[in-house]
Every structure is written in C-alpha cells, then in structure tokens.
Assembly symmetry: C5
C-alpha cells in the first residue's frame, strides 16, 4: 500500500497521491516536499522505489527485513533511520514492537512498515496543520514523526511502572505467596528490558541527529530534535530505575519468603515440642508396668491432664520469651 | 501568582512589582536586573511571559508540564534550567519532589513552579542582602537559588542515612524479624534512588554551567558555581555509598534469616529426636505382649523413667558436642 | 590443502589454481586479484607462503596456532585479521568454534584454517557471481567472507534464545524441579558468554575496518562493512540481553524453589499439628489410670472420635484462615 | 593554635614563629618559604588568616567545616587541597577519619585541621632534614605531607585485610555459626567502603597535581608526586579487591549456611523416619484388639524388639546409600 | 648476586661479567648493549648501581621493596618497569607471585628480583641465540623478557580453568555436598582475582610501551611488543570470563542446595504424614474405652493392619500425584 502526501511549501497546499508515477512528477519540482508512506511492500515495490530515489541496495535490504535495531546511517544521498513503535496488547499485556524504516532525502521522507501504524495518521495531521514550519524543510516532518512515536512510549512505561508499584505493594500484603508473583515480576522485568533495548539506541540516533558538527537540519529544527532526545533520555532513566528496583524487589521477595519460612518453622518447632512432651507423658502413663503408683491415685488422671496443661503453658511462655511466638 | 523583584545595580535598591506591565517598563532599562517568580501559572500566563521575553515555545511547553528531568538547555537568547526541590514529609516519610523551571536571560531570571517553594524566600533575602555582588550580574542570583536548593538536600540525606544506620543496627538486635524490616529497607533504597536520579543530572547541569569553554558567567561567579557542583558531587557520593550499603544489608539480612532458620531447625531436630526416643521407650512398654519381663519388676517403672532421662541427657550431650545446641 | 582462485578483473574470469608456483605467476600481474585458501597447513607450508608474500613472522606464527582472539593488526604490507566461525553441534548442543586467519594484501586475500569451513564455499559463490563489484578491489572479498561468517551466527543465537525462553517457561510449570534445570541454565549461560567473547572483539575489528581516518577500502565498500558491523552489534545486544535475562531466571528459580519449600513446610506443619493433637487425645485415653471417667461412658469411644474430627476440622479452618493451606 | 615554620632557603635555617604578626613580617621576604599550621581555629582566626593571605572566602568557608571530600581547587592565587588522615581506633576497631585542609601558595603552605594530627610532626622532621630539596620550592613540603598521610593508610588497610582473611578462614571452621560473623563482615565491608571513598578522590587530586599540562611544580618534584599517586592507586586496588572478595565471602557464607541446613534436615528426616517406624510398631502391639496372635507368643516381645532393630538398621543403610548420612 | 651479559652488537659476541667494575668498563663503549641481572640485592648494592647508572632514588626505592603493582614510569634517563612472574605451587596449589623490577636505559637493561627467576635463563638463551635482532637495540631484550614472563602465565591459567570446569562438573554429580566445595570455589575465585590484578595493569604497561606517540623502540620491535600486548589481553579476557562463570557457579550451587533441601523436606513431609496417620490409628485402637466395638471383631487386628496399609498406599499415591515423590 502506497500513500504519498505532496506539499508545495510556497502555496501551502497538500495533495495526496497514490501512484509512483505521480510521485515521479512531483519530484521534478525541487521546491516540493513530500512524504511517501509504504505499508507492507513486496520486495519488488521496494526495488522500484529504491531505483526511483536512488536508494542504496543495502538500505533497501535492511528496510525489507524486520529485526533491525534503531539506528541512523548516512548514505551519500539520504539518511536511513530505523525506529520502533511500541504498543501494549490489552489482554495479553505483551508489548507489540514494530519497526518503522525511514529514508530521509533532501526534500522527501519515505516511511516503510509492515503493519498499519496509527501514529502516522497523527503525524500527518500535525504536519498539515503547522503550515508555518514548512519552510524549515523536511526535518520538521521527521521531527513530527519521531516525536509522535516517542510520545506513545510514555503511557506504556507509566503502565509498567504502575504494575511494578502494584507488585511491590502486593509483596508485603498477601501471606500466601505463590509463583505467579515471581512470574509476573520476571515478565515485567523483561518488558522493561525490551523497552530499554529500544530506548538506548534511539537516544543514540537522536544524539547523532542533533549533535553533529555539520548539522543535518536547520538550527531552528534542531532545538525540536533536542526536545525528543530529552524525552527519550527521561524514558530511558525511568526504565533503568525500575529495572534496578525490580531486582531489589526480587531480592526482597526472597528475604520475605525466607522470613515466612522462619515463621512457619518456628510454629512447627514450638507446636511439635509441646505436643510431643504431652504425648510422652500420655505414653508414660500408658505403659503396662505392674507398679506405677500414680495410676492408682483417684485424681491421677486429672492431675496428669493438669500436668500436661501446665507444662504446655510453661513451654509456650518459654518460647514466647525467646520471641519464637 | 506573579512576583517580580527589580534591582537597579547602580543605586542598589530593590523594588517589588506584581504586574507584567511594570516588568515591561523595567525591561527597557538595560542596566536593570530583575527576578520574576511565577507560581502555578495558567498556560495563558506562560504564553504572555514567553512573548514578552521572546522565550522559545518549546521551553515554555517544558515549563508548563511537570515531570521533566534536571537539565540545562541553551537557546539563542536565554538558558532554560530545570532543578528540583526536595522535602521529606514529616509523617509519611515520603519525599516530596517539586520542579522549579528557570529561564536565565542577560539581565533577568524567571522561575516557574507549581506550589509555593520556601527556598525562594531565603534566596530573595540572600540576594537583597549581598548588594556588593550585584555588579557580577544575574549569575549571582542563579547561584543563590541553586545553592539554596542544594543545601536543603543535605538534612534530608542525613535523615535517610540515620535511618539506614538505625536499620542496620536493628538487624542484629531483635531476634523476631518481620517483613516490616524488609519493607522499610526497600522504601529507603527507593528514596536513595529517587535522590540519585535528581542529583546525578543536576551535577551534569552544574558541570555545564561551570566548565564550558565559553563561560556563561563572570569568572568570579564561576568559583561559586563550582562550590555548588562540589556539594552536589559529595551528596551523590553519599547517596551511592548508602545505596550500595543497603544492598549489602539486604544480603546480610538474608544470611541472618537463614542462620536463624538453621538455629530453629537444630532446636527442632534435637528436641524431636530426644522426645521421639523417649516416646518409643514408653510405646515399647505400652505394648500388650503377654511376656514382657521388665513389666513385672517392682521398680521397672522407675527404672524406665531413669532410662529415659539418661538417654535424653546423653543425646543432649552428643548434640552439644556437635555444636547443635 | 591449498586452493587459490584467481580473478582478472578486466576480463571477469575466474581461474582455480592449486600450486604455489601458479600463484607466483599470477602475482606478477598487478591487476590480478586472487584468494588463497589454505586448510590445515603444516608449519612449512605457512613458512613458504609467508616468504612468497613477505608476511611478517609474527603473523605467520599467530596463524599457525589456534586460540587467538578476534583481532585486526596492521603490518606494513598487509592486514592480519582473525575471525571465528561458530557451529552448534546437533547432538551435544555444544558450540564448535573455529578460527579463520586472514592476510589481506593490496590484491590478495589468504585464509588459513584447520578444518574445512563450509562458509568459504558460499563466499566463493558470492564472489564469483557478483562480477560487477570486482573493480572495487579486494575489500569486497573480505566483506563477503566476514558477512557470511557473521550471518551464520544468527540461527545459532536464535536457537539459544529459543532454548532460554523454553527454560523460562518450564520453570513455572513442572512442580518437581530438579538439578537438570540448573545445569541446563548454566550451560546456556556459558554458551552466551562464549558467543559474547567472540562478538565483542569482532565488533571492534569491524569498527577498525570501517571507522579509520585513512580508510582501508573504497568508500563504496565501506558501507558494506558498516552493515556487517551493524549485524554483529545487534547480535552482541541480543546476547547481552539474554545473559542478563538468564541471571534473572536463576534468581527467579531460587525464589520459586524457596517458595515451594515454604509450601512443603506449611503442609508439614499443618499436618503434623493436626495429627499430633489427635494422637495426643488417643494417647490420653490410652493411659492406664484407674479412674478415667470418660472410659466408662457407653459412647465414649465414638465421642472421642468425634472430638478428634472436630478438633482437626477447627485446626484446619484456623490454618486456612492464616492462609497456610 | 597556630604554629608556623619559616625557612630561608638560601641559609637553610628554620625558625618557628607562633603569631600572625611574625608571619606577616616573614611574608615580605619573597624568597622565604613557610608552613603555617592551624589547629582547631575559630572562624575569626580563619578570617584573619584569609585576609592576610588573600584567600578566597569560599575556600575559607570550606576549611571551617568538616565533611568535605578530598579535592583540589585552583584559585587565582593559591590551590586549595582537602585530604584525610585515617586512624583505626584500637578498641572499637572503628576508623577515625579527619580532614586536613591545605592552602598552597607560591611560597607558603597553610594546613588547617580540628584535632591534633600526628602525621604533621613527622612531616616537619622530614622537611627540616632534607635541606637539599628546599630549592625545589614549596611543592616538596606538600609532597612530604601527602606522602606521609598516604603512608599511614597502608598499615590500616593491612589490618583490614588480615581481618578479612581471618574471617574467611573462620567461615569454614566453626560449625556453630552465628550472626556476629555477618555483623563483622558487614562492618569490615563498610570500612573498606569508607577507605575507598577517600582513596578514589585523593587519587584524582594527585592526578590533577601531577598530570596537568601546565604543571604546578618543578619537574623534579613532579616525579615524587607521581610516586604518591602510585601508592594511592595500589591502595585503591587492594581496597577494591577485598570489597569484591567480601561480597563473595557473604555469598559463600549463605551457601554454607544453606548447606548446613541441608545436613540438619537430613539428620532430622532420617531420625524421624526411623523412630516413627519403630513407634508405629510399638503402637500396633499396644492396640487392644482381642485377637492379636503375636501377643501370645512367648518370645513375641523380644521378636518385636529385634524387628524394630532390624528395620532401623535397614533404613539407616538405605539412607546411607542415598548419601543422606 | 650480580650477573651481567655484555654484547658487542657489531661482533655479535656475548661476554659474562660478574663485577660492577667490569660493567663500568663496558659502559664506556656506547655501542655496547648489556643486561645486568641483580638477585636479592642489599640496599647498598642497589645504591651503588643507582649511582653508577644515575638512576633516580625513587625508582631505586621502589625496586628495593616488594609489593608494587605492575607499572611503567618514565624518568629522564631511563624507564622503570615493574612486572610479575607467577608460579603455581605444586602441593598447596597457591600462586607464588614474584616481582621483577626493570630499569631500561639507552643501551642497558637492569633486572632486580628477590628470588631466582627461572624465566630469566630462558630469556638469556633467546637473546644470545637471535643475534640478527641485536641491531634493533635494547628493546628486543625487554621484549624477550616480557614475552617469556607472559608465556608462563598461560599454563597456570589453563590449570585454573581446568579446576573450574572440574568443580562445575562435580557440582551436579555428588549428592552429598559439603563445604569443601564452597571453599575450593572461593579459593579459585581468589586466584583468578589475583591474576587479574596483575594482568590488567600489565596490559596497561604494554599499552604504554606500544602505543605512545613518540615510540620508545624501533618500529620493527614495536610489532613484537604488540604481540605480547595481545597475549596478555587474551589472558585477561579468559580470567574475566571464568571469574564471571565462577560467580554463576556459586549461584547455581545455592540453587542446587536449595533444591536438595526441597527434596529432603518433601521426603520428610510425606514420610511423617503417612507414619503419623498409621500411628494415630494404632493409638485409637490402643485407647482403653470400655466400648470399642471393633476390638472384639475376630479379624479386627488384621483389618486394622490392612486399613493402615491401604491408607498409606493412598497417601503415597496422592503425594505421587502432587509430584512430591
């Protein structure tokens, strides 16, 4: 699926074109700026576009495979940028991570992706509304795109953070712990890790785009890219903080489990000792020796019960004193 | 709420103004230095101020949202600085962290914050008292502000350190450990982490402000900023030290809990074995075999009790020898 | 075993030669490009080749021993590159790691290896097919070689990743854990570690080959090397991610084992207490006191059984309330 | 308390002066070199000295508070250096850490400290004895001071290392472990941490003093500072090594405690099972069924005892086979 | 003990001299190259040599004490290099680490060591045999020395690695674990740590010797030093790999110990519950109630035994189902 938006910066009007032939026409006007969005292209489609825009075969090849990592690469005629969109699946709570490949030329931006990317619609609206920034060139469009993508990360991270905080609270509440806790913690840690794997190289990409000695973009646009850089840095910080915190939570969980075990074992020990002592007394008076004087006492049985009770209470007090109860 | 202090450096007199119109008047005098403090502004307020001082929309937008991170950004006409004030809530012992955004121009400082910040009053007093430093320019005011903010961190860190030391002492005392210990430790670690998240980028901010090749401020003011840099470095060091120490404390706690468990289990084992042996003897003489010679002995019962006692003592001594008791 | 492919770049025809004498002839033509592949050479073979091509004795010595690490070294006349091929043994699941040493001169590439390397056949095909790149020089051949080697890493890493994910899933399923789990985890971690030991210095090698100020290769070839660099970086990232994840899995496993222990101990404690209380009651009514009134009740026995049942149920409910069951 | 030593480098004679007025006289001679030592000064004392030597108020303020960190700061007229002396308290085994502040000018060194510092006497002797180095300037005095301070660290670190080695040996010996072990380990780790907090920034200080592009001192003195740098680097290395080692020891301790627990539980399990089986047999023959044939056998009782013994031995052998005993 | 080898590079003949006087003679010939080896010198010996060669007192002092760290220091007339030889004691399996101090001048190398160093004999042979490299200067001798020392590290590391692998295998085999395992692991880790403490700074030394902008040695010699650098880098890599691996092994060991504990406790729980239930039944029929109908049944006793067996089997099956057996 191919969709292009063409903009004549002088007249500030936008046109949608849907065939590569129209694009070829537009390209002839050097003052035109346009964005070509390609969804789930076949290899042939990409080849055609590559020929049309003289894109390097290596970049075309990278764009036709998923599983790249965020990066920016300078070619002679264009920049090749790989970024990722992240969504959290409502039910499974898994992260859906999709690649968006971008070719940025003098006056065009080509975006390539496999599945529909809802962020792109928003970018289109932002771009077509802010007509006054058009004269700053194609950089504004790339900025809008990266900014929109990075902005969608925040609610996801917030959701993960909420889950992490919730997990931590639960750790101290329920006294019946089970392995679902550990599983959830492991899952959460993995998701933070996955986000970090995207955020860190994307920060590097933005660093390259902003801090270069020979800047790619107009000075006025650069400030905006710096802002995106700032956002992704803050995000990476938050992710790192919670990864660290989750490790501590896992350690704390082990402490708590061990502590609970201690409590259980103390209970077992105290109960065992008291009951075994009482049982021993009962066993002693259950022996069949001919001459056991106590057995003949009229209140022997009751005395024996009282003895058991007294010993039990004394033992309980002793353990209480040892703070085992 | 808007509050401005205007200073004429030649005459050394301070004036308070409360409307943007008056500020506009003052601005016309290039030798005037003034500080504009804006509390909980609406977006419109910020827009107006932005227009008046030609502040960049991005900086204005950053200032209107909380949840930035400490940073300094250079714009063409001004510097945008984000710093944080930290307070520790008396009852909940939670950290209250508030953002203060600053715009530093040639001859003005604009501070923006959502809630009242008590540190600012102190800064005002410091500034208006030290009239002799006025000729060093607006940098002195920024220094006073950052220095005052950083100084308030120290009692908070000291409080956390005291709590950490106290926690450590308690670990070795009470023999009845419970999960509140772990919870407190986790809380404390989180607070150190939160402080570190502020201190490290603030150190970077001060590094930018002091070490630049083309310095922002007068050489005489730079030395003061270096002092604040030094303070925040020391603070970050202390925070790192105690974060590390708390990890060790958590490990030590696990060791202690495991050790306690060992003691409990030894007690259980020793008591079980002794009592079970005695019970077995009682059980044996409770059997109903027709021919059990011992049962007919006149002192059989007492001999049996003595046997139990002797075996119990021997077992206890054996376990003592194994250092299980 | 010696095998050489000679290419005349102007005529684009490839010739296979198998003796060093033929190679000597070819070398005289400065425009010829050729690849000399030496399998399991004796030290004498290497010496001869070294003399023929004026290779430095140190490089020759390095090439005659295995157990180097990936590296690139600049000599006056040539570059010496060490890379590794990795295969995973089908049955033992162990990694087979083999060294390939390369001497890269102005117009020749010499590869030295001990065992047959299947990747080299593929490289030969790639090289002889892409005749149009021949004019870019010997760099294209080195690129084809390194790219082919790095590409074979990916299915291996994917296999390890699958095994790691599988291990993680299994951790939460089976309730009868055994040490094979730990052994497999340790093995897997070691394999990731082994891969990392290769990937990191190979990335450095590619960094040296691509980022030098005075580049080794034609600008057009450099872009291809950058692509290999990119691949190996992604691989190293994945390896690091899973090494980290496996550490977390080991921690999680300890948590789960501890948690299981808790469950076991709770079961033991609850069952012990209930059964011991019942036994105590039975023991009491097994005592031989003359005067135990209950024994004479007609339904005493049944009442006693009911008493045991009631106490057992009450205890069970109490433990249920404590969430121990 | 104020003490000054004045040295005329040409005549090589040292004079002690005790009032600031005398110091003022000496200062007039540009060829004079002198050392001013101030113990526990009031703020007024420091102010006076500051005025006399035109020291910057910030440095004076830093010198009047403890709790700085090791640092060196360049001011226009002088260098401000903060270093620490470390002593280990004989009884409590705690580290006493004291600050020494130094102002190094063209021809003077001012040292400020709160408590008496025994190292200073030694420095005085070193300085006054090595008259031949006087012409190298004030740097020699600073070197003597820093070298003496750093040299006193070594016996302290050696003591800590001995304690750490001793702790490690003890871990494998005593079979009755207690929490004092953990407490000592934690204490030791904290002391290493405290030393590291001093050593690392002091190394940085020495790095600044030696490696600067525009060196502070004569080339001949620099070599001596490099030697101190070397010492403190070695110290920091040792401290890091043992911090790491103590972490491993804590982990090993947990392993050992867990292992001990295993042994205890095996003993309990084996003993419980054997004794319970015997008790069950006794219980069975204690039942009151009318028709239990064995009870009427003449040697039934003895047979029963032998049965118990045989079963016990068989069980013990079985557990031995399982390596549980 | 003093031993010198003098070489006249033009005539390629080597002479052994044993007194400092002869050395003084040789020194007068600027084209002479010689190596002075000093074993266990008194301080006076070192002083004399120092005077003769104008060595700096600091370097002499460093050479007279052991316990330096590997380093290279540039003095005006010479370089001072500290390196270490490592041997593994056959019986105690401890590492013997000895210091070799070297003074490298324009045309001499002085080695100082306390105990006999077998590596030096080998170096002598290498040096005197390779006469053709003599014209490259004194660097070749230093290279031979460092290369020989570094080469002796490899069998030691291989031995440690074998021991580590063996330890790992043993962890999964024996089911009776004891603390000797932990002790050995701790020992091994310490030895790796000790090696790393030497290898890392020695790598830095070689880095200084090879990568300097103004190289110390002839270009042709530099390549050889780079080779030693490569070896020590590989060694440091291996050491790091196994240190990391041993930490994982310690964690794995804890997992296994915990897992074993789980098994033990399950066995205890299952056995306890079955035996206690049977005992309870026996206890119930051991009660002395007058009216217990079952007691009067003719096959009551056998029925009771069958009941016990059935309940035991059912419980065992239930636990089997829960995978506790």
């Amino acid at each position: 699926m191919l969709k292009a938006i063409h903009c004549n910066p002088h007249e500030h009007n936008f046109q949608r074109v849907t065939s590569l032939e129209q694009v070829r026409e537009i390209k002839k006007d050097p003052s035109a700026i346009f964005w070509l969005d390609v969804e789930n292209p076949s290899e042939q489609d990409l080849m055609k576009i590559g020929e049309e825009f003289q894109l390097h075969p290596l970049a075309i090849e990278d764009a036709s495979h998923e599983h790249q990592r965020p990066k920016v690469e300078e070619y002679e005629q264009f920049y090749f940028v790989v970024f990722y969109t992240v969504n959290r699946h409502q039910e499974t709570q898994r992260l859906d991570i999709h690649e968006v490949d971008m070719f940025l030329g003098q006056n065009y931006l080509i975006t390539v992706h496999e599945k529909p990317v809802s962020e792109l619609n928003e970018v289109e609206q932002r771009w077509t509304r802010n007509v006054k920034h058009l004269e700053w060139g194609i950089g504004v469009l790339l900025y809008s795109l990266l900014d929109t993508i990075v902005d969608t990360y925040f609610p996801i991270v917030d959701g993960l953070v909420d889950q992490a905080e919730d997990l931590e609270d639960r750790m101290f509440m329920g006294s019946k712990r089970n392995n679902i806790f550990t599983q959830e913690l492991l899952d959460l840690k993995k998701q933070f890790l996955a986000l970090r794997r995207i955020a860190t190289p994307e920060r590097d990409v933005l660093n390259v785009l902003t801090n270069r000695d020979n800047p790619l973009f107009d000075e006025r646009v650069l400030i905006y890219f710096r802002d995106v850089y700032d956002h992704i840095t803050r995000l990476a910080d938050t992710v790192d903080l919670y990864r660290d915190q989750l490790s501590t939570v896992m350690d704390a969980n082990l402490s708590i489990v061990s502590n609970d075990l201690n409590k259980v074992m103390r209970t077992l020990t105290v109960a065992s000792i008291i009951l075994m002592v009482d049982s021993l007394i009962a066993g002693i008076y259950g022996m069949n020796f001919e001459n056991i004087p106590e057995l003949h006492l009229y209140y022997g049985y009751f005395g024996c019960l009282i003895l058991m009770a007294v010993i039990s209470i004394l033992l309980a007090l002793a353990f209480k004193h040892l703070k085992w109860l």
